[in-house]
Symmetry: none
Subunit: 182 residues, 4 copies
C-alpha cells in the first residue's frame, strides 16, 4: 500500500477531528468520520489515539491554543486610553465576524467540559489563562475574571439568539455596565 512513511499523519488526524467536530459537533466525532476526513485508513486513528477521548482532548487542546492566541493578541493590543467597553465590543465584533463554526466549536468545548472529566481541565485552563493574561495587563485579576465571564456570556448570547450584531447597541449595554475607561 502507498504512504508508508507519513510523518505529520498524527497532526492531520487531529486537524480532521477538529473539522469533524466543527461540522457535526462533539456528538458526531467518530473514528470513522475522522479517518474519512483525514483520508487515512480507519485503523490509523485507533493506532495513533488509544481511545476517542484522547483524540477529543488533542483536538480541543489545539482549538484552545488558537483561541488563546487571538485573545492574547487582543490583550496586547488593548488601548489603555480607550474605554474597556469599546475594547470588549471590538473583540466580540471581530470574533463574531470570523468563522462562526470556530466560535461554536469553542463553546462546545465548554459544553463537553461540563460532563467529560478529561475535558474539564482544558476548559478551566483556558478560562484561567484568559483571566491571567488580562489581569496582568490591567493589574486586577478579579476584574479580569469578570470581564472574561462577560465576554463568554455575550458571545453565547449572540450565538444562541442569532441576534444581528450591532456594535452600537452592544457598546451601549457594555458602557451602561462597565462604566468609565481605566
Amino acid at each position: 500500500m502507498p504512504r508508508r512513511y507519513d510523518p505529520g499523519r498524527r497532526q492531520r488526524i487531529i486537524d480532521a477531528a477538529i473539522t469533524v467536530v466543527g461540522e457535526r459537533g462533539i456528538a458526531g466525532l467518530s473514528h470513522r468520520a475522522v479517518a474519512a476526513a483525514a483520508d487515512v485508513p480507519l485503523g490509523s486513528t485507533t493506532y495513533h489515539f488509544a481511545g476517542l477521548d484522547d483524540l477529543l482532548v488533542a483536538a480541543l487542546r489545539q482549538v484552545n491554543a488558537g483561541w488563546l492566541a487571538d485573545f492574547a493578541r487582543w490583550v496586547d493590543g488593548l488601548d489603555p486610553a480607550a474605554p474597556l467597553a469599546d475594547e470588549v465590543a471590538r473583540l466580540v465584533a471581530a470574533t463574531l465576524a470570523g468563522d462562526r463554526s470556530r466560535v461554536t466549536l469553542e463553546y462546545e468545548l465548554y459544553l463537553a467540559a461540563l460532563r467529560h472529566e478529561a475535558v474539564r481541565p482544558i476548559a478551566a485552563a483556558c478560562l484561567d489563562e484568559m483571566a491571567d493574561r488580562l489581569g496582568r495587563r490591567i493589574g486586577d485579576l478579579a476584574t479580569a475574571r469578570a470581564v472574561v465571564a462577560f465576554l463568554d456570556g455575550l458571545l453565547l448570547q449572540y450565538l444562541l439568539t442569532g441576534r444581528p450584531f450591532r456594535p452600537a447597541a452592544l457598546r451601549d449595554g457594555l458602557a451602561g455596565v462597565l462604566g468609565a475607561p481605566r
Copy 2:
C-alpha cells in the same frame, strides 16, 4: 401486561428525560435510557415524542421554566437601594449554593442549543425572557441584556473551574466593573 391506562405518562417521560440528562449528560440521552428511567416500554417514548429532539425540547422547556421562576423571584426581590453588583452576587451565590447538578443540567441543555437547531429557539427565548424581565424592572433593556450575559458567563466559569465560590471575591470583581448603585 398490565398498566394499559396511564395518564400522566407523557409528563413522567419528560421527568425521566431530565433525570437521565442530569445523570449522564445529553450524550447519554436515549430512548432506552429514558424508557428505563420512566419505567415504560421503549415504544412508549417514541410514541409520545416523535424524535429524540422533541423530547429534548420538552425537557429543556421544563427546566427553563424552573430557572425562570427562580430568576423572576430574584428580579422581583431586587433592592433598588443596593448596588446591582451585590444583587448579582447574591443570585450567583444562591444558585451555586443550591443543587449543583441542577445548574449543570441547565447549562448543558442551554449549550446544547449551539448544535440542536430545534433547541435554539427555546434557549433564545429563555435569554430574552430573562433580559425582558430584568429590563422592565431596571428600565433599561440593553443593560439588562448585559447583566444576563454576565450572569451566564459567571455561572459557567464557576461550574467549569470548580473554583470555590467566594462572595467577597466575586463582589469585588463585579464592583470593579459594574460601578455604582442605581
Copy 3:
C-alpha cells in the same frame, strides 16, 4: 370531537392509500401514513380495514378500475383502418404523457402480485380483462394477449430506462414486428 358523521370516510381512506403508495411505493404503505394523508385519526384506518392487506387490495382494485377504463376507451376508439402498430403507439404515448406516478403505481401492482397471494388475482384479472376486451374487438384472443404483453413490456421499458418517448422510433419498432394493418 368533531366529525362524528362522516360518510365517505372509507373512500377517503382508500384515496389516501393510493396517494401514499403513489408517493412512497407499496413498501411505504402504513396505517399511520394513510391516516395522516386522509386526515383521519389513526384508529380509523384500522377500524375500516381489518388489516393492511385489505387496504392495499382496496386501493389496487380502484387503481385498476381506472386503468381499465382508459384501456377500454382506447379499445372502443380503435380505428379498424389504421395499423395496429400505430394504435398501440398512440396508447403508449398517451399513457406516458399522463401522470407518471400513476403508471408506476400500475406496475407496482404487478410487483406486489408476484409475492402477495391476495393481490395476484387482481393483477391477473386486470390482464385478463384487457385481453378479453381487445380480443372481442379484434376477434382474436391469442393475438390480443400478445398485444397486451407487448404493451406491458413497452411501458415497463420506458419507465425503467427513462428513454425519451419518440413516437416515430416506437412505431418503427412496432411496425417491424406487428406487420400490416388488419
Copy 4:
C-alpha cells in the same frame, strides 16, 4: 468467537441476499435476514454493504448476469431460418420450464427498479444489453427492443396469471403478431 478470517464472506452475503429475496421477496430483505442466511453476525452485512440498497444492487447485478448469460445463449443459438415467433416461444418455454422462483426473483428485482433509484440503472442496463445483443444479431435495434419488450410482457403475464404454458397457444399469438420469418 471463532471465524475471524473469512475471505469470500462478501460474496456469501450476496448469495444469501438472493436467497432471502427469493424466499420472502424484496420486502423481506433485511440485514437481519441476510445475516442469518449467510451465517454471519449482523454487523458484518452492514460492514460490507453501507446500506440495504447497495446489497440490493449487488444482488440484482448478479441475478442479471445469470439471466443475460441465458439470453445470450439463446441469441447465439437463433436459427436464422426459423420464424422469430418460434424462437421467442422457445425461449419463453425454456425460461418457464426452469426454476420458477428464479424467474419470479428476476422480475421482482427488475420491477423493484421502479421505486429504487439506485436499482434503476442496473435494470436499464440489463434491458439495453438484451436489446443490443439481439439487435446485433438480427441487424435491427428497434425491432430488437420491441422483441425484448414482448418477452418481458409475456413472462410477466405467465407469472401473474399462472396460466399454464401452452407452446401452441403462445406461438399462435406470436405468429399473429410477429409475422413472417426473417
